[in-house]
């Protein structure tokens, strides 16, 4: 019974990992660019939720949307102010740009919110429900379900809509897309907005049930790297599958080896992947 409980809990958090990793994989697949500040976007989503709940006393629907919108705008702004200028520059500039941004956002959050852990004050989502003997926390259940739905929605957006086709066209061949009348700049800005927005909403979803501090971003960034590598670069369905797997592995290793090993096992998995299957589980070389 404990095992089943662990599996369900792991899959629920795994769905949230899948959601924020799908944003990272979108940018990576499209621009061959890695965002080291992605974890900080998740962290900022948590603090947007915190500020909205403390300031307005609003419910999860409101702060989830607020986090998504605020981070969408931040993502677009980051693209135009920074990424656009470095994305075809030297590797050093590409990596340092988002690495520096991560540092800036993390310590600005330290400065504003203090390094202490906080939890969201009273919110509507509480309680547990009993499904066939498994106890499920309502906040985790909502977070997992919403995250899974949004990840699938992201996949549908990319594969079933005109905007998605334009995004993928830019990913495939920037110049050819330009000749077809697509503006790559606009599409890439949109991709950054979507990526940051999904990170923001994932942060808000986790803020409902977990305490957080400005330092949590680094862990999320590394988790997203693992998920994206495991799922294959640029693949949203791959990210969903890999996110669920990582959530599951974390839950099981935290139980069997002790809480600090939940990250050790995942990072170790990442190193093992680099040795054995750098193209990801589903990818081809």
């Amino acid at each position: 019974m404990i095992l089943l409980q662990l599996i369900v809990g792991g899959l629920l958090i795994g769905a949230v990992y899948a959601l924020f990793s799908s944003g990272l994989t979108l940018i990576w697949g499209m621009m061959n660019f890695i965002n080291f500040a992605h974890g900080e976007f998740v962290m900022l989503g948590m603090y947007v939720a915190f500020v909205i709940v403390v300031g307005l006393g609003a419910g999860p629907g409101v702060f989830g949307l607020a986090a998504a919108l605020a981070l969408f705008l931040l993502g677009v702004a980051v693209y135009f102010a920074l990424i656009r200028h470095v994305m075809r520059g030297p590797m050093l500039a590409q990596i340092l740009s988002t690495f520096g941004l991560a540092l800036l956002l993390r310590y600005a959050a330290f400065w504003i919110f203090s390094p202490n852990f906080v939890t969201l004050p009273q919110h509507a989502l509480t309680g547990t429900i009993n499904v066939g003997g498994i106890l499920l926390g309502v906040p985790q259940l909502v977070a997992g379900a919403v995250a899974a739905a949004l990840t699938i929605a992201m996949h549908l957006l990319l594969t079933r809509t005109a905007v998605g086709s334009q995004l993928l066209a830019v990913a495939e061949d920037r110049d050819a897309a330009m000749l077809m009348g697509i503006r790559p700049d606009r599409m890439q800005a949109l991709a950054w907005g979507l990526a940051a927005g999904s990170a923001g909403i994932a942060g808000a979803l986790m803020a409902i049930s977990f305490p957080f501090s400005p330092a949590v971003g680094e862990t999320f960034a590394l988790t997203a790297f693992v998920v994206v590598t495991l799922g294959g670069f640029g693949s949203v369905p791959g990210a969903l599958l890999a996110g669920l797997m990582v959530g599951l592995i974390q839950a099981l290793s935290a139980y069997y080896f002790g809480p600090i090993y939940k990250d050790v096992v995942v990072y170790g998995l990442f190193v093992a992947l680099l040795w054995l299957r750098p193209q990801g589980l589903l990818g081809t070389a």
Binding site: I34, F36, P90, L92, G100, Y107, V264, L274, W275, P278
Partner: protein
């Protein structure tokens, strides 16, 4: 140019005496030693990140290996910390091979991601490992049992030890610059695919750069541990250690011989000043400023201050001088 080098060498050699008369001599000498240490670490990172263009964001693992092992051999066997220094280098080389071998088959970002993941992995494991002091950290000998413990009350002996290592490192880097290794590394940085098609054994040379860089980063860690006599997971293996190495090299000029030195000469006084003015909360502010500096370098001048000087300032000065001569 030769006079410039002589002046720099003389200034570095005489610095502890030059500030000895000041009211805060000990403070300034300590800051000088710290700046030299920062220059050693940044120059070591620079071999890989600057010359070869392989951007490691997890160099703290090599620094930490170099910092932990000297104190560990003291802690467990009461040996002089100095004996742990080669062990730190050996451990760093092992880690370098473990990461470099698989990731250098792939290009660019993989290596950066692998370095940050492995560095965090090591930090978490050491932070939970009682033999390595866990989260509390480990100490060196409190009082010297002989000169070989390298414990001095004044910062001046450390200053000259650090200066010697820095001189050695700069000499190695300078030799590398002029050798086949240097040319290959620069070819790899500017276009890896082109370098490969011209017959450069890309993977092997990237590994050489990584191993050289890891060796000296480990030495920087050892020097740090010998001077402070203490290391814990954050000060030895934390992400901010890597940040410090990167920003010092990138601010002065990544891929240049003296860039890291310039970066250290600017950043260490800046860091000391923010910490003094703002107290404990100053370190938070320092890293906000660091983040902003890194972003600005990446956005406007990836070559750092030396490049800024060569490209933007020096031509303008020359033009003005010529204009004056014509008038």
């Amino acid at each position: 140019m030769r006079w410039g080098w002589l002046a720099l060498a003389a200034a570095l050699l005489l610095y502890p005496w030059l500030v000895a008369g000041s009211a805060s001599a000990a403070f300034l000498q300590d800051m000088g030693a710290l700046a030299l240490l920062a220059a050693v670490g940044a120059s070591a990172w620079n071999i890989l990140g600057g010359y070869a263009g392989q951007v490691s964001v997890g160099h703290a693992m090599f620094f930490g290996a170099g910092a932990y092992l000297p104190l560990l051999v003291y802690q467990h066997w009461q040996l002089p910390p100095l004996l742990g220094v080669p062990a730190g280098v050996a451990a760093s080389l092992l880690i370098a091979l473990l990461i470099g071998f698989p990731t250098f088959r792939l290009r660019g970002h993989y290596f950066s991601m692998a370095t940050i993941a492995v560095a965090e992995l090591i930090r978490i494991v050491v932070g939970d490992w009682d033999l390595a002091g866990a989260a509390i950290g480990i100490m060196g000998p409190a009082t010297p049992r002989g000169w070989w413990d390298l414990i001095f009350r004044s910062a001046v002996p450390y200053y000259y030890i650090f200066l010697t290592v820095l001189a050695l490192l700069l000499l190695v880097t300078w030799q590398m610059q002029r050798s086949r290794l240097g040319y290959y590394l620069r070819a790899i940085r500017s276009d890896e695919r082109a370098a490969r098609s011209l017959g450069v054994p890309v993977r092997r040379y990237k590994l050489y750069a990584l191993m050289l860089s890891a060796t000296f980063t480990s030495l920087a860690g050892s020097l740090y541990a010998l001077k402070t006599g203490f290391v814990d997971p954050d000060s030895g293996l934390g992400i901010l250690v890597s940040v410090q190495l990167i920003i010092t090299a990138a601010l002065g000029g990544a891929g240049t011989l003296l860039g890291p030195l310039l970066g250290a000469a600017i950043l260490i006084p800046l860091q000391t000043a923010t910490n003094t003015w703002f107290g404990g909360s100053g370190s938070g502010l320092t890293y906000i400023i660091y983040g902003a500096i890194i972003v600005l370098i990446a956005r406007f001048e990836p070559g750092g201050l030396l490049e800024l000087w060569h490209h933007r300032v020096a031509p303008r000065l020359n033009k003005r001088r010529e204009g004056r001569r014509a008038a």
